[in-house]
């Protein structure tokens, strides 16, 4: 049975979506006028968005199979094909990437003054890399896109970032690279173990011995955990987020962090199902640690951007928790929460960036009383803060609700602990809102403030719409993933060969194999 449906649109829609930004970047390379460069970048990102729309229209929600698949021989020596396709899990990230990229361009319109050309080229290369990751059906292709992000992101943080940008940029690259080289080794080992192929679908059909699965799981885990970031390796994130320019923060929070979680969904779960089940408890514990520890650290932040960065650690903990519940509710919640987090945290970073352009300070103490001086801004900020908390009727509520109910199904204690995380989330967000927006107007920033202009409102409005749309009609997104998630759960549980669903068994078996 073939697991793919070839592209029937008559033109390579995924390739076009993926590489259109690069074409725009090449075009920008030959331009000299800064204003023109911005327009070309904007038009390119909008074009990518429009080009990607038929994917959703023609997507068949009733099948888990890969759709719009294109396959071309690329490096015959290692049987590497250029193979792309989308299923219900990856499709949503393409629209998220396309949308956030447009917003990144508009928010950088005035903020980027020097090396404008390099900035937008980097941004567009990032877009190609990000979309490329979500459509790759070949491990090496995936890895190429995965690493392709390093160069532009390094520059985005290091060139256009804040005062401590160089430290943050190098830390980002070293952390990410250190994680992903383990994945590279894992990929090569998998190539030989899986019958000399890099094809993800073919690899996920092979059953590997448990000890090999465990090692490979750990190798891939190193790469994905750094990107998510999961608890012990999250330290690059606050620095990178804080120092990056607004567009960089939005990309980091909105999409880059999702790649790790996406990696778990696409590789770890279907290819190493036994190892996934064996490592389930540690993974859930790490996730819950990230939720609670992240929330506590968020509470004590004095810097606006750093606060939101740490809140990402906590929110991404929910995502990984959802993934590793391994039940439909939790997984769908996790995927939905990835989108939600991209929208909400992206929006919060946009808000911080917009106010920073005016006041040039990120210290929370310098703020206060924004509701009086910039009421429109305060409204937007209120909406996104509520969304981040998980206010009913908004998008994050659905995601967190699904994840937590999924967690309860695994163990009651997991669900209970994650609710504690939600409570902490309310605390830090409301407190932040109180300090920044309510209160008296802080004299230190009084003179700098002007309310949002049309460009900024246009940047934030689509995200507000998404917040409510997902919040009130989550099925718009959930309907895409139902069959794919069911298939994924089948893959994870299917290879158990009648074994009981027992972590302790698998861990003891694994330990026995090691010693």
């Amino acid at each position: 049975m073939e697991d793919i449906i070839f592209n029937k649109l008559g033109y390579p829609i995924l390739t076009l979506t993926t590489f259109l930004p690069i074409i725009g970047a090449l075009f920008i390379l030959f331009l000299r006028n800064d204003a023109l460069i911005k327009w070309v970048a904007l038009i390119t990102t909008i074009a990518v968005f429009i080009v990607s729309l038929p994917i959703y229209k023609h997507f068949d929600k009733t099948t888990y199979k890969m759709q719009f698949v294109e396959s071309h021989s690329w490096i015959p020596l290692w049987d590497i094909t250029y193979k792309v396709g989308v299923d219900g899990i990856s499709i949503l990230f393409i629209i998220l990437t396309a949308l956030l990229s447009i917003l990144c361009v508009t928010v950088s319109w005035k903020a980027i003054q020097n090396k404008v050309k390099e900035f937008f080229i980097s941004l567009l290369i990032m877009e190609t890399a990000m979309i490329g990751i979500f459509v790759s059906l070949n491990l090496l292709l995936f890895y190429l896109f995965w690493e392709l992000m390093l160069i532009p992101m390094f520059l985005l943080i290091g060139v256009w970032g804040g005062p401590n940008r160089i430290y943050a940029a190098i830390k980002f690259v070293l952390f990410t690279l250190a994680g992903s080289v383990f994945m590279l080794i894992g990929i090569i080992v998998l190539y030989y173990a899986g019958g000399k192929t890099f094809d993800i679908l073919a690899l996920s059909k092979v059953h590997y011995p448990l000890s090999l699965q465990a090692w490979l799981f750990l190798g891939f885990f190193a790469a994905f955990a750094v990107k998510v970031p999961m608890f012990p390796v999250h330290t690059w994130l606050p620095d990178a987020h804080t120092e990056a320019p607004t567009a960089g923060s939005v990309i980091l929070a909105g999409i880059l962090l999702k790649m790790g979680a996406y990696g778990f969904l696409r590789f770890s779960l279907p290819i190493f199902p036994d190892a996934t089940r064996a490592f389930l408890v540690p993974m859930i514990i790490l996730s819950i640690t990230a939720i609670i520890y992240g929330a506590y650290v968020t509470l004590m932040q004095k810097d606006l951007k750093r606060l939101i960065a740490y809140s990402s650690v906590s929110h991404m903990g929910f995502v990984t928790l959802g993934i590793f519940t391994l039940n439909k509710t939790g997984l769908e919640g996790g995927i939905l929460q990835m989108i939600n987090h991209g929208v909400v945290t992206g929006a919060l970073f946009l808000c911080v960036g917009i106010i920073y352009e005016r006041t040039h300070t990120r210290v929370i103490e310098d703020y206060g009383g924004l509701s009086k001086s910039v009421p429109v801004y305060a409204t937007f900020f209120a909406i996104f803060s509520l969304a981040a908390i998980g206010f009913p009727g908004m998008n994050a509520f659905i995601g967190e609700f699904l994840i937590i109910s999924g967690a309860f199904k695994v163990r009651t204690i997991f669900g209970a602990l994650s609710i504690w995380g939600v409570a902490l989330g309310v605390t830090y967000m409301v407190w932040l809102y109180y300090r920044v927006v309510l209160n008296e107007v802080n004299p230190r920033i009084r003179h700098h403030l002007s309310d949002l202009d049309l460009r900024e409102i246009a940047t934030l409005t689509p995200l507000v719409i998404l917040v409510f749309l997902i919040g009130l009609q989550p099925d718009i997104l959930l309907s895409y993933m139902h069959t794919s998630v069911e298939h994924l759960i089948e893959q994870v549980n299917g290879s158990a060969h009648g074994q009981a669903y027992n972590f302790a068994n698998l861990i003891t078996q694994y330990i026995k194999e090691i010693f």
Binding site: W74, I75, P76, L77, W78, K115, K117, E118, Y143, L144, E147, L148, L150, I151, F154, L155, G158, V159, R165, I166, A169, I170, V173, L174, L177, A178, V181, F182, L184, I185, I188, V189, Y191, Y192
Partner: protein, 482 residues
């Protein structure tokens, strides 16, 4: 074979070597008549291109051609290395022209010596006899010693030459010891005959054979600048004219690998386990010392010297794999390394101008502001040297890792990738200086047409083969099959 039998059939396989040697001689004569060094350089490039064409014409055609009683062979393996040497020579000539004028050392002999060294490397690659191998190594080394010290008025250059010469002499001695032991054991210096003799007599565990292998390891380790035989490299690389640093970081290293691959894979094929056990610590040490010590360097030439030690370690992995495809991966590595390394040195050379060395890392501060193109190229080379896709440097490393993992050295591959993360730190530091710092003073680049061409070619190769490597990989696989 009487002297008269030396007909064209014997000449044909060595035609490229003859051309290079003749051109080198012509250049020396031409230097007496022609004043403009550009003409000499151009003749050198044309001659090398001609040789390249001849090699290319027979490349991939069936079967090795052996001449001179099996002492010299023209096969895919040697031809592939010769491509590296040609490219190395041509690119070096391109980046030298203006630079040697600035260094006030624009001698015509410079170009002749470059070609003599190249001829030596070609002989190494084709040698099927230890004596011929030695001849090639000496021709290459002696020419390189002079080239390192060619800036006569610069004490640093002189010091580098002396150091290189003394240690190079030692390593040649080691080679000869190794060869004489092998001769004592087998009564032949022919690489193929040695292997046949050993397997026929069952000498695989012989102490003398192992000792000889160890001595060869020392000699080749010196040529490829692998730790712990790398001590000469940083000083020689730093003191030598930058163009020669580029030249010898690629040419002699590749030649060393060519010899290593041939001698170890053919002559010592019966003790593969033993020599790979010896080479593994060599590779690990090279990657470790090269990448770690490079972090503390402030002189970019010295930094690239340590980086080239580390790259020797990576290429060694391909040899350690001990298979034909492992050798291919090593050759592929050297080919890509040639382009990215010379490209990086070309940027370094452009910073040099009258009264300004431009070798300090801090000289790169803010380069992107005034010279965005040069900075962008340097960025590409630095990322390629780190091995980050989509540059060719990634493909080079990937191929090597594929081969070592295939033969079960997973741990070795893990060590290698970890050191390559460490290397990201100092390569990216150059990018960081260029892009993330403000320029201190105005940096003027010395550009000329040849250097621009060299940069364009190297950058193009590094990017194109990074994205579409399959034509290169096919090309390499021809070397082993043909």
């Amino acid at each position: 074979m009487s002297f008269l039998n030396l007909n064209f059939m014997y000449i044909k396989p060595i035609a490229p070597e003859l051309i290079i040697t003749c051109i080198a001689l012509i250049l020396m004569l031409l230097d007496l008549i022609v004043r403009r060094k550009e003409v000499i350089a151009l003749v050198g490039i044309i001659g090398t291109t001609l040789a390249l064409y001849l090699t290319f014409k027979v490349y991939g055609l069936a079967g090795p051609q052996t001449v001179f009683n099996g002492m010299f062979v023209l096969d895919g393996y040697s031809s592939f290395f010769k491509f590296i040497f040609y490219i190395n020579a041509i690119l070096t000539i391109c980046i030298s022209l203006k630079y040697m004028e600035i260094e006030k050392a624009a001698y015509g002999e410079y170009y002749a010596l470059l070609l003599f060294a190249t001829a030596g490397m070609m002989i190494i690659a084709s040698a099927l006899d230890l004596i011929v191998l030695y001849l090639g190594i000496e021709l290459m080394s002696l020419s390189t010693y002079i080239l390192v010290g060619i800036i006569r008025h610069d004490t640093k250059s002189n010091e580098a030459a002396i150091k290189y010469f003394l240690l190079g002499g030692f390593s040649s001695a080691f080679l000869l010891y190794g060869a004489s032991l092998i001769y004592g054991l087998t009564g032949t210096t022919n690489i193929g005959a040695i292997a046949a003799f050993i397997s026929e007599k069952g000498f695989a565990g012989n102490q003398m054979l192992l000792l000889s292998m160890a001595l060869f390891t020392v000699a080749f380790g010196f040529k490829i600048a692998a730790a712990p035989f790398h001590m000469w490299a940083p000083d020689a690389y730093e003191g030598a004219p930058t163009s020669i640093t580029a030249f010898m970081s690629v040419g002699p290293k590749a030649a060393g690998f060519a010899a290593l691959g041939r001698v170890f894979m053919v002559a010592f094929s019966s003790i593969k386990v033993e020599w790979s056990t010896v080479l593994i610590p060599l590779a690990v040490l090279s990657m470790c010392i090269g990448n770690i010590v490079a972090i503390s360097q402030t002189n970019i030439k010295r930094m690239l010297a340590y980086s080239s030690i580390a790259h020797a370690g990576y290429a060694l992995l391909g040899v350690i794999a001990g298979t034909n495809s492992g050798l291919s991966s090593m050759m592929n590595y050297m080919f890509i390394y040639a382009f990215m390394n010379i490209g990086a040195f070309a940027v370094v050379i452009m910073l040099r101008r009258e009264g300004f060395k431009g070798e300090d890392l801090s000289d790169y501060e803010g380069l992107a502001k005034n010279h965005p193109l040069a900075a962008a190229l340097m960025l590409v080379f630095m990322f390629s040297l780190t091995g980050i896709p989509p540059t060719a440097g990634f493909i080079a490393k990937f191929y090597v890792f594929m081969e070592v993992i295939k033969t079960g050295h997973v741990l070795l591959a893990v060590i290698a990738v970890l050191f390559s993360v460490a290397s990201a730190f100092f390569y990216l530091r150059v990018v960081m200086y260029m892009y993330m710092k403000e320029p201190r003073g105005e940096v003027i680049l010395t550009t000329s047409a040849p250097i621009c061409i060299a940069l364009a070619v190297t950058a193009l190769i590094v990017i194109v083969f990074g994205i579409f490597p399959s034509s290169l990989l096919d090309f390499v696989s021809l070397a082993i099959s043909g």
